[in-house]
């Protein structure tokens, strides 16, 4: 089921005043010239720009609620400012239920029933993978914002023309996520975390498929010992037997965990293990964890895309504030930032291209002819369409994140709060070693 969310404002907005003065006609005439990149005869945009937002269980799931909340903030801003000659900007939310079939149904509903112009969102890789065939057949732009699945890259490399309507605003794809973990380890394990040895522990899930091999292969290349590696079923509840295999004298355990993160962390916290604990831990990225669970996360660190209280760009903090006002204090998960970025990017690109014609948009977005945009997570550009590995993907630069100009950031739970300890430019508190 889709949920309509029309963000209308009372009182005359700047956009409506301009419209009254005839600016709409100017926009239309510009669009009639084909815009900056030529292809379309008109914007193909009526009075209303409709945004399709794909989110898992937005009523109960913090990831889904964040996607919806982030999208709402973006749509509110665009409704005020206008996009091309659209009088209104509206969003419709489709519930992916975090599954392939749920996502497919929601996508079809948004595109065929709700007539949205483009879609953003998804979180689980399974959900994103589930709609790829539909994107190909419907030829509507999808700016994915939450899933790290590499199926997108494979499909684009395999058949670019058919799959060219997919772009990823974040997070980094599976391989680049693994690269970020390895880069972080090489740069900071010994100097900041004080880890001279580590043990790699990862859940065997779709999302770790491309990530774990990168980490497994490269983690030992940086001058510290990797004393062991263990994967496990994501349904694991009792981690005691797994932790039995981890030597007590190892300095820290490098984790790649999503679904199993809470149980793994609780067992670590309650078991009094002497080693530190961190890497990618998806529940730990949630600043709004229930208090009852947050206590177990004390000292856990995680890679993150963005988090409240951290200014990666000049847009990060203002977005966080707008989000908190909109949701009455519910702290955003990283998917909120990405959903916001995806919608704002689309609008900025549409304005620059002068049309929302999909083929013209794709041509411009994939050729890097557009002005680099500033999002909440970095100075944004996609890898170009002819990139040999990651076409249409968010660009990753270790130099940029070390310098504090781009995601990822590194958070640690300290005193019941999620704080940023790296990069230095955004540090809220220094890293606290595990006691």
């Amino acid at each position: 089921m889709a949920e309509d969310t029309n963000t209308q404002f009372s009182g005359p907005s700047r956009r409506k005043v301009i419209q009254t003065l005839g600016a709409g006609a100017v926009a239309t005439s510009l669009a009639g010239c084909g815009g900056l990149f030529g292809g379309g005869d008109e914007t193909e945009l009526g009075e209303t720009l409709r945004v399709g937002v794909l989110a898992p269980d937005a009523e109960t799931n913090p990831v889904g609620a964040s996607i919806r909340g982030g999208a709402k903030v973006a749509v509110s801003e665009l409704d005020e400012a206008g996009v091309l000659d659209a009088e209104n900007v509206e969003m419709v939310v489709g519930n992916t239920q975090g599954t392939s079939s749920g996502a497919t149904e929601a996508y079809e509903d948004l595109v065929l029933e709700e007539d949205v112009h483009f879609t953003v969102g998804t979180f689980a890789s399974e959900a994103f993978n589930g709609i790829m065939d539909n994107i190909v057949s419907e030829q509507k732009l999808h700016l994915t914002s939450g899933a790290s699945s590499m199926d997108m890259n494979e499909r684009l490399l395999d058949d670019y023309d058919a799959n060219k309507y997919m772009f990823r605003v974040g997070p980094f794809n599976g391989e680049l996520l693994g690269q970020a973990v390895v880069d972080f380890a090489g740069e900071y394990y010994q100097d900041v975390l004080g880890w001279d040895s580590t043990y790699l522990l990862y859940e065997q899930a779709a999302w770790t498929g491309p990530t774990a091999p990168v980490v497994e292969e490269q983690l030992g290349d940086h001058g510290f010992d990797v004393v062991g590696t263990q994967s496990y079923s994501p349904t694991t509840e009792n981690f005691g037997p797994i932790y039995n295999d981890i030597p007590n004298d190892v300095d820290g355990v490098t984790t790649l965990m999503a679904h199993s993160g809470v149980n793994a962390t609780v067992t670590w916290a309650q078991g009094g293990y002497p080693w530190g604990f961190g890497g990618i831990n998806v529940p730990a990225q949630n600043a709004a964890l229930p208090d009852s669970a947050a206590a177990a996360f004390e000292g856990v660190w995680t890679l993150n895309t963005a988090a409240p209280g951290t200014n990666i760009t000049d847009q990060t903090e203002s977005f966080t504030q707008n989000f908190l006002e909109q949701t009455e204090g519910f702290a955003p998960v990283y998917t909120a930032y990405l959903a916001y970025d995806a919608i704002k990017l689309y609008a900025q690109y549409a304005e620059e291209v002068g049309t929302i014609n999909e083929d013209d948009m794709v041509e411009a977005m994939a050729s890097n002819q557009l002005t680099p945009a500033t999002t909440t997570t970095q100075e944004f550009e996609f890898y170009p369409g002819d990139h040999e590995e990651y076409p249409h993907d968010i660009q990753y630069s270790m130099d940029d994140w070390v310098a504090g100009r781009a995601a990822p950031i590194f958070n640690q739970w300290q005193g019941g709060e999620l704080v940023t300890f790296l990069p230095d430019a955004h540090q809220q508190a220094p890293y606290q070693p595990h006691q």
Binding site: S231, T236, P241, Q270, L289, A293
Partner: protein, 301 residues
């Protein structure tokens, strides 16, 4: 190596104790009432979350452990009422409408699975999908090991309850009536046993045992709206291995399944965790479908 073995043993015993507690309730309802209660996992969920609410409400005024105990008491009452309603409203209701036990058994399965889904959705709406963690009754680990004292307490509580259940069944009139009713419902009725009241006691008892298991699961691992699913599935494997309706068989099977899981994770491959129990289930169904101990508590005619 010794430390690894001790940790292995304690993990096995602790985990299995919680399995036993959950599976016993499931098996006695089948043994006595002849129906499969697929809302058994929901009792576990309700027990854990009600205790959490009680703890959060009372911990500020009376300290953590008393609040936890008070929360548990409230939870047991709530779960008892839930199971009483399950039995009186649905099972009895169906028995009044349908004469054939097979029809009732099938419809009870359908109704209880629907109710389990309702409970899941209600908990999801109230608490969201974020996992919660219940305060431990006792903190810290067993000296020299990584096993929590809380799990050890769960093991002790489990055995106290199992022993109490055996005493209850073998030494009390109600317990003997339970055995009698499981052998022949008609015979028990002839000698004056109030069958509906007896079954009501059984449903409440099963729910209470599941709720206690839920509280220990919630404080040792974590709890979500879906926390009842996995224990229900494991209970299936356990009662089929032990013999549907056999309490003794369920206890032994719980420890066997727990052993298999712990051995798999510790010595074989943690990725195979979800497979071993089901392999056992299939093997038992093929080789010895009546399970280890058959049916001690026979369904009455």
């Amino acid at each position: 190596m010794v430390e690894v073995l001790i940790n292995f043993l304690l993990n096995w015993l602790g985990r299995s104790a919680l399995y036993a507690l959950t599976a016993i309730g499931f098996t006695i309802i089948f043994g006595v009432g002849g129906v499969l209660n697929l809302a058994h996992g929901a009792s576990l969920t309700i027990g854990a979350f009600t205790t959490l609410v009680g703890f959060q409400r009372f911990s500020g005024s009376m300290g953590d452990v008393p609040a936890l105990l008070l929360g548990l008491v409230v939870a047991l009452v709530v779960v008892a009422v839930f199971n009483a309603i399950l039995y009186l409203l649905f099972v009895r209701g169906l028995e009044r409408v349908y004469a054939k036990p097979e029809q009732v058994a099938l419809l009870v399965m359908i109704v209880t699975v629907l109710l389990a889904l309702v409970v899941e959705e209600a908990v999801k709406l109230r608490f969201g999908e974020d996992p919660q963690v219940l305060e431990q009754f006792v903190g810290g680990t067993i000296p020299g090991t990584n096993v929590t004292q809380n799990l050890a307490l769960g093991f002790v509580v489990s055995w106290v309850l199992i022993a109490g259940l055996f005493v209850f069944i073998n030494r009390t009139k109600v317990g003997k009536a339970l055995v009698a009713a499981s052998m022949s419902r008609r015979g028990a009725r002839i000698v004056g046993v109030d069958i509906p009241r007896l079954f009501l006691v059984t449903w409440i008892l099963a729910g209470v045992l599941a709720a206690i298991a839920g509280v220990f699961i919630g404080s040792t691992y974590s709890m979500t709206y879906a926390m009842g699913r996995s224990p229900l599935v494991i209970s299936f494997a356990i009662v089929i291995l032990g013999g549907l309706g056999s309490i003794r068989g369920s206890v032994i099977a719980a420890y066997f399944i727990g052993l298999l899981e712990t051995v798999t994770v510790t010595f074989v491959d943690p990725n195979l965790l979800g497979i071993t129990s089901f392999l056992v289930l299939v093997l038992v169904l093929v080789v010895r479908p009546e399970g280890l101990y058959g049916r001690e508590l026979q369904v009455g005619a």
